[in-house]
Amino acid sequence: MNLITALDVNASGLTAQRKRVEVSSSNLANSQTTRTEDGGAYRRKDVIFQTTSFQDSLSSAMGKGVEGVEISDVVDDPTPFVRRYEPGHPDADKEGYVSYPNVDPMLEMANLIEGARSYEANVAAMGIVKTMINRTLEIGR
């Protein structure tokens, strides 16, 4: 059914945005982490949004199907670490510099707000679709 698919598409948006906010929160939480399992400082993570097709019998007949969204990959941000001169730090190198994560709190905050807004937009759209479905059920009553 068309409207149920509309709900599913918006739900895919919710999942993707929530994952994005999760990754951004993890970046913020680890903004000072100098030790990781892989060794070295924490590297900032970024999400990749990708379209996924919601093919049902109807949409395949219509040509282009409806496209939902998914996080296809979580990648490392290749920008260099922030180096600070702290000779007393246990993770300092020979010259006394410590590599801190390449996390920019300002960027993460912007990311979090954007994610929250997009999430809200999807929730609002789902509310409207639910009204449409409820009204459909009232036809002929």
Binding site: N2, L3, L7, V9, F54, A61, G63, A121, N122
Partner: protein, 128 residues
């Protein structure tokens, strides 16, 4: 004489409802892909939908529907793309989603009114 099935009215309303729900799907997909790089916003045009209704019936007063269901009238929305190639405009999508939802509810209301009228004719017709 009144056609008890409402003539072409019910199929027309049915088509419009299916159009509105299909459109809601496309608009919802735009919203879901608001952060997908390279995604182009798509929509269905009502003008093209209307054009699919064959106006040249036996009489100029008649409106008949073509047999084919509305399909493949999707077009790409012409909004300015962001640097990542995505052209979904949140305000536009939210406005269109609200409008489409209201149109859908209006159509259902109208359809219900027509059904009530028919029911009145059926049940109260014999009363004096």
């Amino acid at each position: 004489m009144m056609d008890p099935t409402g003539g072409p009215l019910f199929p027309a309303l049915e088509n419009l409802l299916s159009y509105a729900s299909k459109r809601q799907q496309a608009l919802g997909a735009n919203l879901a892909n608001i952060d997908t790089p390279g995604y182009r916003s798509t929509d269905y045009s009502f003008e093209q939908e209307l054009a699919s209704i064959n106006m040249a019936a036996t009489s100029g007063k008649h409106i008949t529907l073509q047999d084919d269901t509305p399909s493949a009238r999707q077009y790409e929305v012409d909004t300015k793309a962001k640097p990542n190639g995505n052209n979904v405009d949140l305000d536009r999508e939210m406005t269109e989603i609200s409008k489409n939802g209201l149109q859908y509810v209006t159509l259902v209301q109208y359809l219900n009114q027509k059904i009530r009228t028919l029911r009145t004719a059926i049940t109260d017709g014999g009363k004096v």
